[in-house]
């Protein structure tokens, strides 16, 4: 079982993602059973308690103190562990170089008074204070942090509106302002489509599709997922729409969000009435009648939203896109080849997603065609997955939800939780199709495809040992100019036996055809 060993350093601060990644490295040490490297926050103390590596000393430290705790065999020396941690931390410091790093926002402003936007990603409990300070200094804000209360969100957004500033977030994962990708974002060509969105991977999928169609974006404004809640009333979406209406580079406006209430939807759409710029709206899975009532265009999928925006920009005919880039003959060939390799009792889908909106879109598209889908974000509460560790029948999981990210980085940064699950799904003889997304760009893991390939090979190999085939279908939310490269990522997945489709919607449709045996 081992012993609890720990070390505490007072008044030493590191950011949470850095420490979570270092915890994982320490866990790999021989003789170490559990490890936690973190700041002395309540959350980390609770984690340490759950892992059985808590001590009175750790209980008594504060959020500005740093600790290393392990459950390890007798021969493991805590000094060696601390040495390893220090080495990993100094590597991180070396990467940062010798740049001047001021201790506060005010000192940063003194150093560079021309600064105009602040990207904030500190723990939620400190986020409001930093965002308020930035707004009071007339700076635009992108607030990546979550765990900010609705009351605080409202207060910040009201302050921003009063001052005419951007208050993107809380929980805003992506934005592209003046062609600069902020937080999780892809490298997208500069162009004339402006986007305001309340769903991170929804925005990313649309921008990537626009780029693949040869067009680009003027501005991409994230609002945070709760902006269209009744309590917030769409404050930042309305502010973003006003800005895009007045922006000479923006010729077409795209809005994307999970379904808002009718009242808020109406308020948002009404605000687009006094512009001649065409508007395309995707309320993923929401009521489209209200969109059409005000003469805006409905995006029927994230990809379709992008296609319509591009068609409107070029003055081309507007049609719903429900098909494939490949010819129908080619799609039939892929489907019949895959169906031919599956056995009669292989009938289930396992969707393993890192992007919440992409998982939601998958379930929306498959609704009605393959039967009900269990999930941690189900379309109907009846199909909420009770045990998140075990899939049942058709299952689609969003690994970016809170239950998977307590004490560990988002799966776009640390793909290991999804890789482990893929191997597990490959042990279920009734599984026919695995559906996955791969998000490229800045902010995410430097090689999400490479991290997943060993699990893909293992899962396929395990099925093969039982004379079965495992069909793995993926889409890549990325562009050629992303640091990971779209073509190279696609090539490596295909070499590992994955069918790569040009969008999430097309990947989902293909999965649906295979599961319904081509019908």
């Amino acid at each position: 079982m081992g012993k609890i060993k720990f070390e505490i350093k007072k008044n030493t601060y590191y950011d949470s993602v850095t420490l979570m990644l270092i915890s994982k490295e320490v866990e790999k040490t021989n003789g170490v059973h559990e490890a936690l490297v973190g700041m002395g926050t309540d959350l980390n103390k609770e984690l340490a308690r759950n892992l059985g590596i808590i001590s009175d000393e750790i209980e008594n430290i504060g959020p500005n103190d740093f600790f290393v705790a392990v459950l390890a065999d007798d021969e493991v020396k805590i000094e060696k562990i601390v040495e390893k941690v220090n080495k990993l931390l100094s590597q991180k410091k070396e990467n940062a170089g010798s740049d001047y790093m001021p201790p506060t926002l005010n000192s940063a402003l003194r150093h560079n008074p021309e600064s105009n936007i602040v990207l904030i990603s500190v723990a939620g409990e400190y986020a409001t204070e930093e965002a308020r300070r930035a707004l009071n200094n007339n700076l635009h804000v992108m607030l990546f942090s979550d765990n900010v209360s609705l009351e605080d969100e409202k207060e910040l957004k009201e302050l921003a509106c009063e001052k005419g500033l951007l208050m993107m977030g809380p929980d805003c994962g992506t934005a592209i302002i003046n062609n600069v990708p902020l937080a999780f974002a892809n490298v997208i060509k500069k162009g004339n489509i402006g986007i305001v969105g309340a769903s991170g991977t929804g925005i990313q999928e649309i921008t990537v599709a626009i780029d693949k169609l040869g067009e680009g974006v003027s501005q991409v404004i994230g609002t945070g997922g709760r902006d269209l809640h009744k309590e917030i009333g769409g404050l930042m979406m309305l502010q973003g729409i006003e800005a895009l209406k007045g922006d000479s580079q923006t010729k077409v406006i795209v809005l994307v969000s999970k379904p808002p209430s009718d009242e808020i939807a109406e308020k948002v759409i009404k605000s687009t009435k006094d512009t001649s710029k065409p508007i395309v709206i995707n309320f993923v899975g929401g009521d489209n009648a209200i969109i059409e009532k005000y003469g805006a265009y409905v995006g029927v999928s994230l990809e379709d939203t992008a296609r319509k925006a591009v068609a409107l920009l070029k003055g081309e005919k507007i049609d719903d896109f429900n098909g494939f880039n490949k010819s129908i003959e080619k799609i039939h060939k892929i489907v019949s080849d895959e169906v031919g390799k599956l056995t009669a009792n292989q009938k289930y889908l396992r969707g393993l997603y890192t992007g919440g909106t992409l998982a939601d879109e998958a379930m929306q598209i498959l609704r009605g065609s393959i039967g009900e889908i269990y999930s941690n974000i189900p379309l109907s509460p009846k199909y909420r997955l009770k045990d998140l560790k075990t899939s049942r029948e058709h299952t689609c999981i969003d690994f970016g939800e809170d239950e998977f990210t307590v004490g560990r980085p988002h799966p776009m940064i640390d793909p290991s939780i999804r890789a482990e699950r893929l191997v597990k799904e490959g042990e279920d003889e009734e599984v026919a199709v695995i559906l996955m997304d791969f998000i490229l760009g800045y902010g995410v893991h430097k090689d999400p495809v490479g991290e997943m390939i060993p699990a893909i090979i293992e899962a396929k190999g395990n099925m093969k040992k039982k004379d079965r085939h495992l069909s793995i279908i993926a889409s890549i939310c990325g562009t050629e100019n992303d640091p990971q490269g779209l073509r190279e990522s696609q090539k490596r997945l295909e070499e590992a036996g994955v069918i790569v489709m040009p969008s999430n919607a097309q990947a989902v449709r293909l999965a649906g055809l295979i599961l319904s045996k081509g019908k």
Binding site: P63, P103, L109, S115, E130, L166, P181, Q249
Partner: protein, 58 residues
């Protein structure tokens, strides 16, 4: 068309202050965008009472 402060931002070079995850700072720096990273730590060492006192002083 009304010009807002946000529209004024669209006409300027983005100059970013990053507070929090260093990875966002490194990404921006690697792309050669102007960015400054704040070596942030909780106000008043995480002491809530002191924090509220200090915020009133500002």
């Amino acid at each position: 068309m009304t010009k807002t402060k946000i529209n004024e931002l669209f006409d300027k070079e983005l100059k970013i202050i990053n507070i929090g995850l260093e990875t966002f700072y490194r990404d921006l720096k690697n792309q050669e965008h102007p960015v400054i990273h704040v070596d942030w730590r909780p106000t008043a060492g995480g002491n809530k009472k002191m924090e509220s006192f200090l915020s009133k002083l500002q």
